[in-house]
Every structure is written in structure tokens, then in C-alpha cells.
Assembly symmetry: C2
Homo-oligomer: 383 residues x 2
């Protein structure tokens, strides 16, 4: 067992209608006003925004509203939001949406208490020393951002998709109401499932030491995601399946899977962030392309781990068959597993590899992943 610190103070309020108490949750933390940050205007049409606004008003919480956060969220929008927060002296950020909105909210929370350029936090030029409290009501389960202190934002000018992180960025309270996710499209459900797989498998296949307990926890998350995704593809309003899927997403990146683990890295994310930064590929779609190719490339480094995966997840004996079964499953839920399926041309391999190598350098992985090796992995997905 590697030494570790486990600390996760986020309170999860899980269940039907809990977004209706959001004003109360915010008030408990002594926060008198918030920026309600969201993506499209769908939440204004479907009544979610109305319920949240009513709850805030009932508790006397003032708020401003800003939408327009897109998938692969942009630092420019974060800057706009920081302006609004500063001008209005808002005391907290309430994210309503999926991972992009939450990730942006964290950047806004840190940036609002910082006099410099918020991008400094992403490129390692500054550390978060202070941040506004973040709250969330999630409408999509995938990134785990509702219960972790990380965010990923894209800088359009520099074409960098980079992470921010600080213990100060744990959301205070996150509402997970599975009912709010019943309208997620099959496409985004598939992307979400792949994202969760990738959070788990990056760790599972790179850890130099993985306690048996932690391996089994990860396998449990994967089993849960596969089973519930299959249910939800035909029965989108199955509340229990939606709920279990959501909790699996949260567990996949809230610290539990890191317990006692040594030497893990975020390889597929390192590569996928380049796809998102350059070609605006949806995160889960990019990961679906990268993950099986990456597994193919590294499978001989950890034969026992790959055999265990094949046996535990797909009940087959052979590593290669395990990878093939995973690819088949991705296909079956409609996730793209080739460049072409993700709308990318072979020409994109070189720029993606170049950009990903930039990530590798920032994350201290340039020894393991020279540009040529990244390109080799990507080529496995060009078919």
C-alpha cells in the first residue's frame, strides 16, 4: 500500500427534487449571493432554472445568471464569468449542468479571488490560494467533477486543454438528482460511460501497485456502468439504473479509486485533451477512440492486469479478447472507436500527437510518451 491522504469534504445531496433545496444548502454556508453558471438555455425551458431560482429567492440568496458554457469549455467564458462575479461582488458560484459547467465554475471560483490571469492556474504559473465556494446541481453524470477538486478548461488562443486543481475547489454541496438526467441523449450517455471507463482504466492499467481491494472497487464501478448503460439505452427513465450510473461516475473520480495505489498516470486523458483542444471532439468520443488503441499499445507491459480485466469484466481468459470485447461494447452503445467514426482524418494524427506531447511534458510524462509513441497509438485508431 502506498501512503495516501484521503480527504473529500463535498456533501452529496442525492435524490428526487433535491435541487429544490439548493437555496437552503447555499445559505448553510453563509453565502448570500451566487453566480448561476450554466450551458445552453435548455434549463430555462424545462423548468430546472425556475425551481433553482425559486429556491434561491425563498432563502434570500441574490444571484446573477450566465449561460453559454460549451462542451470543451473555454477560458474566455470563464473570464467573462469572473468579470460578472467581481462587478457584482458575488459570494459563490452555483454550477447547473454537466462537467463543463462545473469545471468552469471551479476556474471562476479561483479566478474571482486572484488578481492575475486565471490561465496561470492551468499552466502552473500560480497556485490557488483562495477561492469562492462552489455548489452544483448536475444534469449529466460522467466527469465526477461534482465530488472532486479538479477542472479542465480549453484555451482557444493557445489550443491548450489543461487542468486546474486545488483542495479549495471541492464543491461544498452537489445535488445529484437522477431524474434530471433522464433526458440525456443516447449519444451523451455513451460518451459518459466511456469517460467513466477511462477514469478507471487509466489508473487500472498504469498503477505499478494496485491493492486487490482497489482493483475490485474499480471492476465494480465498470460492471455497474456497463449494466446500467445497457438498461438506460432501452429504458432512459429507469430511475434506479440512472441513479446507480450517476453514483458510479462520482465514485470513479472522488479519490476512492486512488487508495493505496502507486504510480498511476492519466494516459488516455493526456492524449484526448489534445483532440478536444484542436478539433473540439466531445471528451467521451475522443476517449472512446483513444482507449482501445492505447490498451493495445501497452498490454504487454502488464499482462496479469490485462488478464484480470478480461476475466473480471468480460469473463474471457485472453487479454486480447478483453480489449476486443471492450471495443465491441463501445460500438454497441454508439461510441466512436476509430478516427473516421469521430469525424477525424488521418491528417489529424500529427497535430494531435504534437499537442498531446505538450500535455505529456506538463504532466511529467514525456519520457514514457515521446511524440512518436503517441502518434503510433493514434494510428492504431486510424482504420
Amino acid at each position: 500500500m502506498k501512503d495516501f491522504t484521503f480527504y473529500n469534504p463535498t456533501r452529496i445531496e442525492f435524490g428526487k427534487g433535491k435541487e429544490g433545496n439548493i437555496g437552503q444548502y447555499v445559505k448553510e454556508f453563509g453565502v448570500g449571493s451566487v453566480l448561476v453558471l450554466h450551458g445552453s438555455d435548455r434549463i430555462k425551458k424545462d423548468g430546472l432554472f425556475g425551481r433553482i431560482a425559486a429556491s434561491l429567492e425563498e432563502q434570500g440568496i441574490g444571484f446573477e445568471t450566465m449561460g453559454g458554457v460549451i462542451s470543451n469549455p473555454l477560458i474566455s467564458r470563464v473570464r467573462d464569468a469572473i468579470e460578472v462575479v467581481k462587478q457584482n461582488g458575488l459570494q459563490g458560484i452555483l454550477a447547473v449542468g454537466g462537467g463543463s459547467v462545473l469545471d468552469s465554475a471551479k476556474a471562476v471560483a479561483a479566478g474571482a479571488k486572484y488578481d492575475g490571469n486565471v490561465w496561470d492556474f492551468f499552466v502552473g504559473k500560480a497556485e490557488v490560494k483562495e477561492a469562492l465556494p462552489v455548489f452544483s446541481v448536475i444534469t449529466l453524470a460522467a466527469t465526477g467533477s461534482e465530488m472532486n477538486p479538479y477542472g479542465v478548461v480549453t484555451n482557444g488562443e493557445t489550443q491548450q486543454k489543461y487542468p486546474i486543481g486545488s483542495p479549495l475547489l471541492f464543491p461544498k454541496v452537489s445535488v445529484i438528482n437522477p431524474e434530471l438526467m433522464a433526458s440525456v441523449t443516447p449519444e451523451y450517455l455513451a460518451y459518459s460511460a466511456v469517460d467513466i471507463f477511462s477514469h478507471c482504466l487509466d489508473l487500472y492499467f498504469t498503477a505499478s501497485f494496485l491493492p486487490v481491494y482497489t482493483a475490485a472497487l474499480i471492476e465494480n464501478i465498470l460492471e455497474s456502468v456497463m449494466r446500467t448503460t445497457n438498461v438506460l439505452m432501452s429504458t432512459p427513465d429507469d430511475y434506479d439504473a440512472r441513479g446507480e450510473f450517476a453514483w458510479a461516475a462520482t465514485m470513479a473520480l472522488n479519490g476512492n479509486t486512488f487508495v493505496g495505489v502507486e504510480g498511476n498516470t492519466f494516459d488516455t486523458h493526456m492524449i484526448e485533451h489534445a483532440m478536444g483542444a484542436l478539433y473540439n471532439v466531445p471528451h467521451g468520443a475522443g476517449l472512446a477512440v483513444v482507449l482501445p488503441a492505447w490498451m493495445e499499445e501497452i498490454k504487454d507491459q502488464m499482462p496479469e492486469r490485462f488478464e484480470r480485466f478480461a476475466r473480471k469484466i468480460f469473463n474471457v481468459a485472453d487479454s486480447e479478447e478483453g480489449i476486443s470485447k471492450l471495443t465491441q461494447w463501445f460500438r454497441s452503445i454508439g461510441a466512436p472507436v476509430t478516427f473516421a467514426q469521430a469525424g477525424l482524418l488521418e491528417d489529424a494524427v500529427d497535430p494531435i500527437a504534437e499537442n498531446a506531447f505538450g500535455n505529456a511534458k506538463l504532466w511529467g510524462m514525456e519520457q514514457t510518451y515521446p511524440k512518436e509513441r503517441i502518434a503510433k497509438i493514434l494510428m492504431l485508431a486510424v482504420k
Copy 2:
């Protein structure tokens, strides 16, 4: 999925030598002085107390020391400790020991900020409104008290073994260093394993709704406990096994196993607390006696759950065989599974049933567990 709130702000510092940083952890919370609460004087002989004292002194944290907390800890000792805390104006409690010390520390933390009788919190006469911060360095992994807001203390005068609980009683920081547990006797290792089983199975066999994910999480904890206990019985200083065992103990009662669960109760604890209160049976020993008998009594209420248990944990098809395999395993690690093995006479059945029925009333379980049914379960263990 049942609605739930997940909130667990305890920070776990897990690893070799981490007790040597305890002064720093305490200081981070602005606490300038603590009561170091412990059990026997073993920690003074083996150097642990010295390392902790040195760390506190290094950080300028003043402290008083009080030992003498016994297994099935007494409210009288808690009252002594509250006196010392009040007289010295101490600002926090640092528990060094196992579950009994931690549970006592929580009662002291609440009692030190309360003008009335600390036992009020146990019998529902008062609610914890304020408490001193609790820290811990654990030397035995079993109760999960290091990462939850509960404690169980015995009132010798009234012969009641009752729980206290409040979100204010989550430890701020708990140190789990598996090395400190290498000297746990095989007897107490067995009791600890049984305690963890009981935390898990009380829930597993009573929940009216148990998400598949949560069922599998519990099975993972049980598998981990069995495997590592078997290793530790022959190789007590296997660090990884000790570490995995410790984390399984923590996970069994830190909120994760309650996720989405409906209708669970603490049946074996309700009965065992009576054994501890009346006959001072070690908690894990009492549970080893009660658990298989209780399973026998209730097995027809949830046939699918018992079949799943038999299949997943012991790879056998039949419920009855699952119970029998569990009993055999308890025997194999030296845990008592009959009244006689726990040093109890058949005469004890009636007083235990009477006392346990008192718990059933306090916990709202008197409908399900009239005294006669409790006696019937106990009689199954008299053989």
C-alpha cells in the same frame, strides 16, 4: 435508489510513520491543546506515545494525558476525561488506540461543551449542538470509528451499552499506520474481522432495497477482510495485507455502504450490545456468537440475498451452506461461535434478551424483535 446525503469530512492520513506528523495536523485546525486519551500503558512502553508527544511538543501543542479506557468503554471514564478537559481548558481530543478510545473521545468532545449529563446524548435526552474537535491515531482497525461520527459507550450503573452520534463528531484527521497494528493479537484480529463482517451483513441482510453496486461494494469489503485476515494470521507483519484490512474496516462504516440503501437496521449490534453491557464480552466475540444464529433466524425473509451471499463470498449455491461456511471461517480464525466458546452460560439468554429488547425499543425495532424472538436467536447459539 433511496435518497441520501453523503457527507464525510474526515481526513485520513494513511501510511508509515504518519503519527509523527500528528502535531502538525492538530495545529492546522487551530487547536492549541489536547487531551491525549488512550487505553492501556502499552503505548508508553512501545514508543508510540513518545513519538506523539514529541510531535505535539514540536508544534507547541499543550496536552494532558489520560489512559485507562477499556474495551466496552465506560461512561464513568468519559466523565473523568471531561473533568480534565474542562479544568485545563483543553481545545481538542486526541484519541490514541482502538475503537473504544475513539468512541470515548467523541463522547468527551461532546460532553466537554455541554453543561448537563453526558449520558443524555446516549438516551436521546439531548442532541449534540457543539463539540471539541477530535483527532485520532488508531492502533486497531475494526470499528470504523476513525472515519464516522458515531461512538458506543457503556453505562455500568444502568447496564446500558448505547450509541452517540452527530455530524459534529467526525474526527478532523485520523492517522492509519498499518505498522502500528502489526502487534494486534490473533484473538483481536479475529474479533476485528467479525466486527467488520457484522457492520456489512447487518445492512446486507436487512436492506429492503440494496443497489447492485452497493451489494458488490460490501462483497468486496468482505472478500478483502477474509483474504487479508488469512494472510495476517500466519504473517502478522505483512504490511500490504494489514493496510488493506485497515482500509476495509474504515470503508465498512464510513457511509459508502449506505449509498442508495433503504430500510437497513443494525440487528446483530442491537443484540450484542446487551452482551457487552451485561457480561463485558468483547464486541467482536459477542458478534461472532450472534451473527450466524441471527442469519439462521432471518434467512427465509430474503432468500435471494442469502443465495447471492453464498455464491459471491463462498462460491456455493445454497444459502444454508453459505451460513455454514461463514461459521466455519469464524471458527478457523478462532472467533467463538457458541455461548460456551464465549464463556457464557445458557442462563445468560434471558437477561441478554431482556437488555437487548431495551435497545430494540430505543432503536425503534421492538415490533421486529420482541424479547422472545431475541431469546430464540440466542438459543440457536447455545449448543
